[in-house]
Symmetry: C2
Amino acid sequence: MDLPSDSHLLLETAATELSLAIGQLARRLRIEVNPGELSWSQNAALARLEKAGAMTTADLARSEFVKPQSMGTTLADLEQAGLVQRRPHPTDGRQVLFALTDAGIAARRKRSLARREWLLAAMERLDPADRQTLLAAAALIKQLAES
Amino acid sequence: MDLPSDSHLLLETAATELSLAIGQLARRLRIEVNPGELSWSQNAALARLEKAGAMTTADLARSEFVKPQSMGTTLADLEQAGLVQRRPHPTDGRQVLFALTDAGIAARRKRSLARREWLLAAMERLDPADRQTLLAAAALIKQLAES
DNA sequence: TATTGTTATACTCTATAACTATA
DNA sequence: TATAGTTATAGAGTATAACAATA
């Protein structure tokens, strides 16, 4: 077993700082919601359905790191808002497939969520190199989450 | 008013992707907690006090983007765990200053939080250039949150 | 009067447990 | 038996409202 190298100490620092930064921006973004807007979880589920097409509750839950019961609640809210619709699985009577409705697609197209607008305005104040770093980081952060 | 330029569309994409990525990693990290460990909010408050020294409830609330009442709850939990202690403000009888106790300092030194360990392990699987990108991004994300 | 902090209460999101239906 | 989903209940974190003490 080696003593920690300088690069390992740097990595520990990076992990700590990234964890704190993620938490801080998550809390900052959380307060940017206008009345009647989709919650962060609802928006994440909608975005996932847009990218991946129809999915079951269980698969959506795995993708977003929540329990199936929690995703069930989120999907019930989206269904009641008319943004997703359910249909039976063609071969497995237990499963239910969820897909975006036309209204759901329109909701994804509409570029007016307060959280997104706030983040966009904040990023506009950065210089191009920093924006590029954040775009690259977004892909890496997703990769980390799914690893 | 100009039509959106290519670079503006790129920026919109970056904002959307970053927002989704932050949410996804926040949920992924949230499930990595061992029984008895500090919550993410408690850890953030502790880290803030370590960096900035003694602070009032209101200042801590502003730093972490929650209401003073919410930070009051977090600080009460930390106080009960013996990790922070309160003392009166020297000149303003309304304010209360919170600072780390020896146990709080020790808790910050201890490098064993499940969330941090999970993130560290995930980052170890990245190549050095990607780690560097994430370290730079952590600083930018903090800057965004505070902008 | 304005501000800091506390107490009481409620809301959102997610979790665990128990249940039904299907495989 | 095992799995997908539902229903009921509970917990964590944060919010709003009402209040007390101090500036």
